[in-house]
Amino acid sequence: MQPLVMKLNGQDVTLQIDPSTMLVDVLRDELHLTGTKVGCNEGECGACTVLVDGLAVDSCLFPALKADHREVTTIEGLAFDDELHPLQQAFIEVGAVQCGFCTPGMIMAAKALLDENPSPDEDEIKLAISGTLCRCTGYTKIVAAVRAAALKGGK
């Protein structure tokens, strides 16, 4: 067991973990933050995407200890007091959500993009979410939602 200290969704968190644990398992099994999904556990689907110091990572392949003393943001940390993040708002309004299993990962990947590049073009949006699979939506409305959020200055 080793200590892990991180700033998770703006709050300081300290816990003891088995050093072989991946970040996604800490989030889900230890902290029950289940908004982060597991679609493959092998870095193939992007459902587990979270932000570590602002960068989108596959949390299923990210050793939890690598997050030590860093800032981690998950889908649960996006809405501010009940006010939805512009990306969340846009996903709802545009109709970019179907089953919703890919949605948290998609939104986190898009957030990493918009934080870095507030007005991306279509190709940049596609590249940013190209590691995140969706079997339901055909991606069209997801791309449209990211663009709509960008237009509204969503970060």
């Binding site: 908004g35 969340q88 109709g95």
Partner: protein
Amino acid sequence: MPMGYVGKRIARVDSPDKVTGKSIFPADLYFDGMLHAKVLWSEYPHARILGIDASAARAYPGVVAVLTAEDVPVNEYGINIMDQRVLAQDKVRSVGDPVALVIAESERTAGAARRLIVVEYQELPGVFDPREAMAPGAPLVHEEKGTNVLKHFFVRKGDVAAGFAQADVIVEGYYHTPHQEHAYLQPEAGVGLIDEQGRVTVYVAAQWPHDDVHQIAHALNLPETQVRECVTAIGGAFGGREDISLQILVALGAYKTRRPVKLVYTREESIRGHGKRHPFFMRHRTGATRDGLLVAAEIELISDAGAYASTSIPVLANATSFAAGPYQIPNVSIDTYTVYTNNLVTMAMRGFGSTQPPIGYESQMDKLAERLGLDPVEFRARNVLVNGSIAPTGCVMEHGVGMKEALERAAQAAGWQRKSSTWTRPQIAQPKEPNKRLGLGVACSWKNVGYSFGFDDKAGARVELYLGRGGAIERAVVKIGASDVGQGVETALAQIAAETLQVPIDRIEMMLSDTAVVPNAGSSSASRHVFMSGSAVQRACQEALGRLGGQEAGAGQSVVAEYIFRGREAHPTTNFDPVTGLCDPHISYGYVADVALVQVDTETGQAELVKMWAAQDVGRAINPTMIEGQVDGGVLMGQGYALLEEWIQERGYIKTRNFTEYLIPTVLDVPKEIVPIIVEVPDHGGPFGAKGVGEMTTIGVAPAILNAIHDATGVWIEELPASAERIHQALKKKAGK
């Protein structure tokens, strides 16, 4: 004043929870004292089990139980025929058969102990191609049945010999479609527990919770009142969650240990643990006259059922009814077979027997049009079913046949024009690069809505109205066991309720889950929920309103109504006639016309979908945004089927085990544009005229792409996927190299 909720672009009612991560999928559940399970899978596609030694696994610290066949009270299940074993008994018939279930204090322990189980197998010769499995002397998958042929259907309409004698042109083709994996993003997961009333309770993402309860109760030898299923959020389904996957395993685990038991499949286990779309082998012979009228079709379809029946028989029945296409053909002879093999079981997948046939019949249509020198739209327009036509199975298509409208709308959108009453294609500017060729391809297709062939399709709904001041409806609760697999049925039903009750939609509270509370509405399949469950909700609301009118209603009071809608109220269906095979198979239909613009690199053979016009006759659009979403997703799934996806088994062993080996389209594969065209030819049996949507969006995509590849290059691709290699080979052959 009508509120107009039907036809409106309402935001999905479940989306706020889904964008914030609050939606609970089954793997997101944690209970006190919860145990974790792991499945030991069959090592062989076909083998006798001589013995199982689980003593070391049972002795492993942290292991609570290791369950095998003898622990299952009634060791059988199956959605159609109970020929599956909860845990393998005596023999395994595919590598997807679970052999043992390890239950331990942690997932890691369960996984470690699983490796300690020793199973002694005696390998048996297997059979992996349905055509070989039909041959006399082939190894039998189920010995007691005496044959591998699970079902044969036929249709004899008119006189095909006489029909072909009238034909000026006859074309033939032999087509093959492969397995397809559903590849929903959420791997199977579930929790079984004993609730406070002592009932075995399963939390799972499922398409038909009430049928699951029936099968779980059967396997555990419990009355159905002692079993409950609670449906969580569902991470996609596409047919792959219609059958039982791990429901009985977690139920059995809880039943035996009296503690909550959680089982979560890895991606590899998901791919191993649920069936696939049926591969089909399709032989076609089709004849037409010089005037461009179809006169005869002779068709043979053979599908690979895999190791168990699942829904292979109803899938085949559907395929039989759709085999000749949405066309008027006076003389038709169809024979279809579904055959057991030692491949993974095959099951429902978006289209349910309507997806494979158009690969055959639509290629035939283009081959005929080419031979006759007719434009492919013009040729189809002369032959498509219209109101009053006789379908290939001999029934009269009375009303609501939107095939021609869909075809004309798609063709017009793609640039076709009607010149001197003949449809004429647009000229397309070819790319400057000499190795790039563009082509346009058209496909018509059709798909049933609701359960077919005389089956009594039923959907129940319960509506509770809670009244406020002046007797106004303050809150309406709609209870219905309809699974929202992502298609949006929860929102569509809320819209129907709001419209019928004429109350704002935020006063509608939907309750879809818990079989102990909500009425059985049938499965999320057959594109049936809007039609069937929508009708049930509409009628229940109407009945509640009627009661409301008849009573002294005041604040604090409530009114309740239940309605079970039966498909035969809309249109009664019949099974295949035992002598002729003729039937009136389906309650309702959706009609689809797709036009694909495809670019082929003639050097590499790589084909790319550039643009798709997709016209869907949905009867009445309940929510256009959700329909567009279905079209976008359906087109991409069809594109994957056409060009990319290849789920491979070699002699029963799975070769494409994860998303690195089985590729599905990413955002980088999306065509430049998808143009959804919503056609509304109402079916008066459906709510507000609505038919269905979900499956229809996929079925015409692959044939339109294949026809576009032919238009671009002159080669016919008769086997999916139309990979670069396959197209390249065909081009080489055509060039005589």
